[in-house]
Amino acid sequence: MKTWEYIVRRLILLIPVIIGVTIITFTVSHVIPADPARAFAGGPKAQPETIARIRAELHLDKPLWEQYFYYLNDLIHLNFGRSFLENRPVTEALGQYFPATFELTIASMIFAIPLGILGGIISAIRQNKLSDQLSRIIAIVGYSLPIFWLALMLQYAFAYTYPILPLEGRLSVGMTPPTHITGFFLIDSLVTANGATFTSALLHLVLPAFTLGFSTLAIILRMTRSSMLEVMGADYIRTARAKGVSERRVIYQHGLRNALIPTITVTGLQFGALLSGAVLTETIFNWPGMGRFAANAVLGLDFNSVMGFTLVVAIVYVIANLIVDLLYAAVDPRVKLGGG
């Protein structure tokens, strides 16, 4: 079956899942015993008639199931409703915050994946050597660390005690963000050839990306190690050696390619962990992304935003896993797309 056919089929299969997600988010956000209308209307000093009107506008006077269909209908028109915390459409807010989060996530992956794989290989081929034990310990500590605590400690160490890195934010104070092309400050500032902005953005990325990526690194390292160990025991590795292939080539050509297969799957799953981690990381590093937005929304019971965020995350996550499956098929000829 052709790749694009497969993709289309997968995307179609997504629809029920997404609908399910909307049902969850909707129910979740409508059992809240809060009065969004009054919150919209500005709290204690709000005028009753204003509140009534807003309640009508938000269909809060309708039965729940009816509200759900209003909600679905809005979604179809890509309208996630209005965020009262930010007093603007959720879509707009998410649109603004998505690139920031995406930049952060990608950055942390870029740092975590290669290091993780490399570490995995090294500790696999030097099994039970000192370096192996060390990287194993790093790995296990890595995915046992409470990410928010790690963030605080890093701030304490590198932004307060030894202030070598910025404490928070995406750019240093007063620096105007580069003209919006991709929303990735790094890329935009490069494209617009703005060195200062680039360095600032890069420096601001270091701590959050590290915090976010650390656990991912740990898990990938662990996965690569174990699968590498397994692969290096396989018959075809012996064959390769019998062919007179150099050890180096045996590891990187014959071993790694096979060992990567499970790693890829894990990476896909990790994407979800990264998105979750973003909520905590962004809150602490005051990173203007979806995660911080979501945290504020949850605390402020801005349920349109919460729903919007959850939905976006779900979609991104599911698509990430689709991509992983494609990669999977690309790496392993035995995998046939659509074969279940």
Binding site: T239, R241, A242, K243, G244, R257, P333, R334
Partner: protein
């Protein structure tokens, strides 16, 4: 590297007192104690014995492919064309493997790398061990030129790979070359394997139970294939199997192995004609013959000893009906009983003498 030309009086491969241990958590497995034998140019040598008696270990030791840890070659010599492989650096062995000495394995299913095409895997050997005079070999650091040369060599290697596939009588080798292992049948894979390992015309081909995993008809084909390749290329074949039939039809000489020892070695016909070691005899009896009518097959009483705590002296003595005091104290040396036929047993003579008795005993109707 081209194999060094050998004189006729010098064996191609000569293994001397090879001692290989495995350090497992249960204890030290003394897989090989003092294994010695020779293989001569262009001959077919068969190594036979029950599973777990150390056949494969010997082969892997020869290739220096014993996984270590847990394995370790303790002592001994492996002289290949007079060169002691155990003393050579890894690089030399890499040059030898797949070129002068190749090995094909028991499991064609898992022995090929699932993520590369057959052609690619064969081409790899060729690229490693062959030079391409037709391609200009100028030393340049211009990445583009280098790349172009590499591409050319790869292309050529792939063609050669297809040729060697053709050589092992694979119909439509082009197609197969572009296929992945999982798309081929067991027999086809084994052919591909052989093609891979013979593509550099090695002096010695170690075939570790090449046919056990295949069904009978395919077995025959593979064996024939190996035979005529040997005739065409003059490769010495070291055939490891527990199948006496295969030995009988393939091998010029045969070594019988028991619990890490060569217990009997020599010309195949001679050994099959009059086996001297009780164990060999047991083995030979345990195959059905159509010529004589037997009510039931011989079986050797007892089972292969645990190699962590092997019996003292002759490792066969606990199972041996003729064991004498000496057997349980010191391991018997190989004694030449006739030209090109040695046996490691103290009382092979008595054993031989009492065969008939044993025979009758067995054949007496039990009623």
């Amino acid at each position: 590297m081209e194999p060094t030309p050998s004189t006729t009086d010098q064996p191609l491969l000569s293994i001397r007192d090879l001692k290989t241990y495995f350090y497992t958590y249960e204890g030290v497995v003394k897989a090989l104690e003092a294994t010695s034998f020779d293989i001569w140019k262009a001959e077919t040598f068969g190594l036979i014995g029950e599973t777990g008696c150390g056949k494969s270990v010997t082969a892997l030791s020869t290739m220096r492919l014993i996984p270590q840890p847990p394995g370790k070659i303790m002592s001994g010599q492996i002289l290949f064309n007079g060169v002691d492989l155990l003393k050579e650096p890894e690089t030399t062995l890499q040059a030898l493997r797949g070129c002068a000495i190749s090995m094909i394995f028991q499991e064609p299913m898992t022995a090929l790398n699932p993520v590369y095409t057959i052609g690619h895997q064969i081409a790899e050997v060729i690229l490693l061990h062959q030079s391409f005079p037709e391609i200009p070999q100028k030393k340049t650091y211009n990445p583009i030129t280098r790349r172009r040369i590499r591409r050319a060599r790869e292309k050529r290697a792939f063609e050669k790979a297809i040729e060697s596939l053709d050589m092992v009588k694979i119909s439509d080798p082009k197609k197969v070359a572009y296929q992945y292992p999982h798309e081929l049948s067991g027999g086809m894979r084994q052919r591909a394997m052989i093609a891979m390992m013979l593509s550099c015309t090695p002096d010695l081909l170690i075939a570790d139970e090449p046919t056990t995993a295949l069904d009978v008809t395919v077995q025959a084909q593979i064996l024939d294939l190996m035979k005529d390749l040997q005739q065409r290329k003059g490769t010495a074949i070291w055939l490891i199997t527990h199948n006496l039939g295969v030995i009988a039809e393939m091998c010029d000489r045969v070594g019988v192995m028991y619990a890490g020892y060569i217990v009997e070695i020599g010309n195949t016909d001679k050994i099959f004609a009059n086996p001297d070691h009780p164990y060999t005899r047991g083995l030979l009896r345990s195959i059905p013959r159509l010529t004589e009518d037997r009510r039931r097959l011989e079986i050797i009483p007892g089972s292969v000893p645990n190699l962590i705590t092997p019996p003292e002296g002759c490792r066969f003595h606990p199972r041996c009906p003729y064991a004498s005091a000496v057997c349980s104290t010191t391991a018997p040396p190989l004694i030449e009983v006739e030209p090109d036929h040695c046996v490691a047993c103290y009382n092979y003579a008595t054993a031989k003498f009492s065969v008939v008795g044993a025979q009758e005993e067995h054949d007496r109707p039990s009623a």
